[in-house]
């Protein structure tokens, strides 16, 4: 009897999870894409706090780090971790400018195809302008408060490291509120954005190391 009740409960939970996330129709997708594009085109700068959770299946707790993200159109982006350590990365053309608690280094990513793709993904996911990409299979879902877009890479090299790339868009403002990178092992990195400010002046010096 207990088993039966447990089974019914499990079934209910599964059904409700599915009910929460439904696939979008083609008409909904078209409207969503054009709205995101309009917003992305009008977004010259973004300044936002972020919190990152690294989930590994064997850990008791996710590893939490946080900081600020700055974006300036068309392709300048800076991730600045402030807690629990100071570390910043600037994606600039084909270079990564890294400052690890005062220790500075440059990484040329021109030679690394995978890094280029990751960079491209990150820049475009922040601006929300990703949907014309031919390198991914894209699927669209909706919940009560979010649009959820899932990207799976067609590139075998990239998919060895990232199985799925999931973006959450706030339904009202169509801002990216969450980026999740899922590895083939199902371990993942989840980045949540909050206190986002759009189009405040950001000097180019912000993007120097």
């Amino acid at each position: 009897m207990h088993k039966f009740i447990f089974y019914i409960y499990s079934l209910l939970i599964i059904v409700s999870v599915h009910a929460q996330q439904t696939q979008m129709s083609q008409a909904e997708i078209d409207i969503f894409k054009s709205r995101v594009k309009t917003i992305a085109n009008n977004t010259k700068t973004i300044l936002s706090d972020f919190t990152q959770y690294k989930h590994l299946e064997f850990l008791s707790n996710d590893i939490k780090t946080s900081g600020k993200m700055s974006f300036k159109a068309p392709n300048l982006i800076k991730w600045e971790y402030t807690d629990p350590y100071k570390y910043s990365v600037i994606f600039k053309e084909d270079q990564l400018l890294i400052n690890d608690d005062g220790k500075k280094s440059d990484v040329k990513i021109g030679s690394s195809k995978m890094f280029k793709k990751l960079n491209h993904l990150i820049v475009n996911s922040v601006s929300g302008n990703l949907f014309d990409d031919n390198e991914f299979d894209i699927s669209y879902y909706k919940t009560d408060s979010f649009y959820v877009v899932k990207f799976t890479s067609k590139d075998k090299n990239l998919s060895k490291y990232i199985k799925e790339f999931i973006l959450h868009f706030d339904k009202r403002k169509l801002h990216v509120t969450e980026v999740k990178m899922v590895e083939p092992s199902d371990d993942y990195t989840q980045i949540l954005f909050k206190n986002r400010q759009d189009n405040i002046p950001l000097k180019d010096e912000v993007f120097t190391n």
């Binding site: 690294k54 064997f58 850990l59 008791s60 707790n61 590893i63 971790y81 990195t189």
Partner: protein
């Protein structure tokens, strides 16, 4: 060969001979006094708690190149550890598993998948994680009690502070040379919050700082 070059190379040969003569005795045990073995078993408890996520900000200097990252160590079970290095963004650089004497590479970035690199990292982590140590010799000086153990063809020396009873230094040696030195700092009970792993024969230095908020 010109005269000056010949003199120079003679000088170099003499220097090498001199150096090799002096290095015949292991510097680690210099000025140490042998003592009777009091404890036949010593335990390194720095990675022994299965409830603790050991998460460290890591800085790696290797042959003039610098990499940052997050090193995560978890004791899964008795004699069973996972060791994962990720970038600050969270993507995995490598994922190793140590279980008794078995070693498994769950994943590693293609660029790093070289036998030499994997072997060096494997040996370093085995040294760091090995919990049960069979003491074969014991030494003493004013500051430390030193336990020596056999590590295949090599030796490990555990330096225990006489006052605090903390493991402060771990040296891996061949018969004549120091190979790897691990220094434990900011020790808080069974946790070493700062760890330095330095190699003597290759240019590799790993600095680990414990992340407190996790």
């Amino acid at each position: 060969m010109s005269y000056s070059k010949a003199v120079l190379s003679l000088y170099q040969i003499t220097l090498i001979m001199l150096l090799s003569l002096t290095s015949c005795t292991l510097v680690t045990t210099k000025n140490l006094v042998r003592a009777p073995i009091v404890k036949a078993e010593y335990q390194n408890l720095y990675f022994s708690n299965t409830n603790t996520d050991y998460v460290y900000k890591s800085k790696i200097d290797v042959y003039g190149n610098y990499f940052g990252g997050i090193l995560i160590i978890k004791k899964i079970d008795k004699s069973h550890h996972r060791v994962v290095l990720t970038t600050e963004f969270g993507s995995k650089v490598f994922d190793f598993e140590f279980q008794n004497d078995n070693f498994k590479v769950n994943s590693i970035l293609e660029e790093l998948n070289r036998k030499m690199i994997v072997n060096t990292l494997k040996k370093d982590f085995q040294l760091l994680l090995n919990e049960q140590i069979s003491v074969t010799k014991e030494y003493k000086n004013a500051d430390y009690t030193i336990y020596q153990s056999q590590n295949k063809k090599r030796f490990n020396f555990y330096f225990i502070n006489n006052k605090t009873a903390d493991l402060e230094k771990l040296i891996n040696t061949s018969k004549t040379k120091e190979k790897v030195i691990i220094i434990f700092n900011n020790i808080d009970g069974k946790l070493a919050k700062k760890i330095l792993i330095a190699h003597k024969s290759i240019k590799l230095k790993i600095t680990l700082n414990y992340l407190d908020n996790n």
